[in-house]
Amino acid sequence: MIDQRNFMYMFYGFAAAWVIVTVYVGLLALRERRLRDELDRVRRIVEDSGKRS
């Protein structure tokens, strides 16, 4: 059976690693959404200007 000494601290350690990865993935997702919105917006502007000219 797994040793009970320092058991909680082991979880803190694992948790720290996974929290950092999750935070980074979250930041990536936020940035992706922001970039997509900006891309759609600029594409629409280019299309509109193209139609007008």
Binding site: D3, R5, N6, Y12, I20
Partner: protein, 227 residues
């Protein structure tokens, strides 16, 4: 095609990590002195390998950019550096928690921790520089030079602390010095390393796609202004 690769790598990483987690928690023998916490090494050490590799990969990409002036290499270097910064943060965080429990101190200036910290500072400086420059070619050019200088620096720091260490032995986290670990205990490190590499590759690919989107936005903006 690219998306399929991302999914496959994700599943592979998740699969290996779950298998190893089971292995780590239930199958492995217990370490004599440290109790359960030594199992942190199975994230700490793979993250070190992955984080350090990022430097050399970014160095290569920066060199390729300066040789070819193709912005794709610059996007790759930026993506790899950012992902490596995440892994470097994991190394420092897990190292500090482990150290606090085992040595009673949050930090010590031993070879590996110091090198990792310098590594982190240089990565962070590189990313800060990129945010400070708007023009893409200038950004690529200057960050390539910083990447080259930074990688050289890490090699110097690593070597000099190693030389110093052979005269002043310091507490060492190393498990590679042969005979450090019982037989069954070492393989999870390498499996987890493979899993983290897959994870890193996934993150780099996502990040690179974002760099390409940003570049497309830039060129579309310029087109929009030209009407």
């Amino acid at each position: 095609m690219r998306n399929k690769l991302v999914y496959v790598l994700c599943l592979l990483a998740a699969g290996i990590l779950c298998w190893q987690l089971y292995n780590i928690l239930l199958n492995l023998p217990n370490e004599k002195d440290q109790g359960a916490i030594y199992r942190i090494v199975y994230f700490h050490v793979p993250a070190i390998f992955t984080g350090f590799m990022g430097f050399f990969v970014a160095l290569g990409a920066s060199g390729m950019y300066l040789a070819t002036r193709n912005l794709k290499y610059d996007a790759f270097a930026a993506a790899v550096t950012e992902v490596s910064l995440t892994f470097a943060t994991i190394v420092l965080a897990t190292g500090m928690i482990w150290g606090r429990i085992i040595w009673g101190i949050w930090w010590t200036w031993d070879a590996r921790l110091t090198t990792m910290l310098v590594c982190w500072l240089i990565y962070a400086g590189y990313l800060m520089l990129r945010r400070a420059i708007d023009e893409p070619t200038q950004r690529a050019r200057l960050s390539a030079v910083v990447s080259i200088f930074g990688c050289t620096d890490i090699l110097i720091v690593w070597k000099s602390i190693e030389w110093w260490r052979t005269q002043h032995p310091a507490p060492v986290l190393s498990v590679r010095d042969g005979g450090g670990m019982a037989p069954g205990m070492e393989s999870p490190i390498y499996w987890n390393w493979l899993a983290l590499m897959c994870l890193a590759a996934v993150l780099v690919m996502i990040r690179m796609r974002q760099e390409n989107m940003a570049r497309e936005i830039d060129s579309l903006r310029r087109m929009a202004h030209s009407y």
